[in-house]
Symmetry: C2
Subunit: 235 residues, 2 copies
Amino acid sequence: MFKREVSCEKCSLRPICLASAISPEQLDEIDRIVRRGRSIKRGETLYHASSPFESVYAVRSGAIKTYSLAPDGEELVTGFYLPGEILGLEGISQQEHTSTAVALETSTVCEIPFKRFGELAVKIPSLQQHFFSIMSEEIYKDRTLHRLLSKRSADERVIALLLSLSARHRRRGLSGNEFRLPMSRYDIGNYLGLAVETVSRIFTRLNKSELLEVSGREIKIPCLTTLRESYMKES
Amino acid sequence: MFKREVSCEKCSLRPICLASAISPEQLDEIDRIVRRGRSIKRGETLYHASSPFESVYAVRSGAIKTYSLAPDGEELVTGFYLPGEILGLEGISQQEHTSTAVALETSTVCEIPFKRFGELAVKIPSLQQHFFSIMSEEIYKDRTLHRLLSKRSADERVIALLLSLSARHRRRGLSGNEFRLPMSRYDIGNYLGLAVETVSRIFTRLNKSELLEVSGREIKIPCLTTLRESYMKES
DNA sequence: TACAAATACTGACTCAGATCAATATTTCCC
DNA sequence: GGGAAATATTGATCTGAGTCAGTATTTGTA
């Protein structure tokens, strides 16, 4: 027995999701347009690149990765999305999805039909403002990734990703010190612009140090501050 | 004698700027909130990182670069903005500018006070939609940069930047085959995650090939299709 | 018009991380 | 629970681009 169809109002993810900072009556309006409880199994696709853009999605549980393919078929992992996070935003301007979203583990998502959302955002200025903010945040995070890719060493990139995942767990009230990676070494390497072998070697090396305990996809960070500082020092 | 203070209505950049796809009456409303004609000389700053976020800006003429500094002072060039393009979007979510914008040559900009813009976007749904689209476009372009940085060779990165500048010139009705780079080799390298020396060597090499004629910052592309194809082939 | 400073170029050398080639381990079904 | 496929690790070798060092050219300014 598990809870499905939790309204935004009752959703534990509300403070970090789309419906934060919205008054109760307005919450109700959002609640009416959100399609909840869609479940996707590991490896299944939420949307495909070049399918018509109709909705953005909020992750309710699980983990989703997005990737795009170059004309020659080369894959690029463009992001990892955890509960409370919104995906599909790059599709708005193109009128179609520009990446494919697949579940890394069994996940549930809330679908937010974008046309109706726009109509609502016009009626609720604070919702419009919040959505501007969510998109701006995405742009801001892309700047961080830009720096990571063009200035940081392989080790620093991997540590930065772990710290990011840790912070996102903590934000949901979970442990930031111990978690399981939902993605493969391949995905990590692809996302960070590194070869799988390099990622693997870095995990082995970090595991030998006191900074991290790695066992397959299980990660334990004994001390976040130390890890953060070691990351700083390397840069 | 030169024209200042051209209204959005009369602005030749309208089709590619913020005020595209807006009806004449509504155009008038936008016109009233835009602060026009601010001129900044080469090397002068439009806004500083960590100054309060109040406006986004549209380039009217010239060229602007944005950069951010890491805690240790390391610079990262985050973007180049040409006439008709909007900058400052990453500041929305942070309530302050997260990068510094400086003019690469004498430029004029239009300032769009963001609070008033938000109020207007609520009244004009198509304007809201268009702004969603502009932000989405920025996210989409960041994905392209992500691929460039994590999958492409130094040569391909430089060619991709040239092709992007060329396309942006053409969009304004200018020649896409001949133009002057507003930015230094250093800026190009920094933006693309390459050492200055590498950028310099690539220009020399391209100049020796038939693909490009380079003389300092003057660029001539004899055949765009050939350049585009050579770029594809290398990938 | 000249000269200092900034920018750009070139060459020699080095190295982080890619690639290639196995082997080990985990995961997923039947 | 067993065996195949997918994922992860490890080692040896190679290479694209970085670094260092010096020179050339352009640009802005007096």
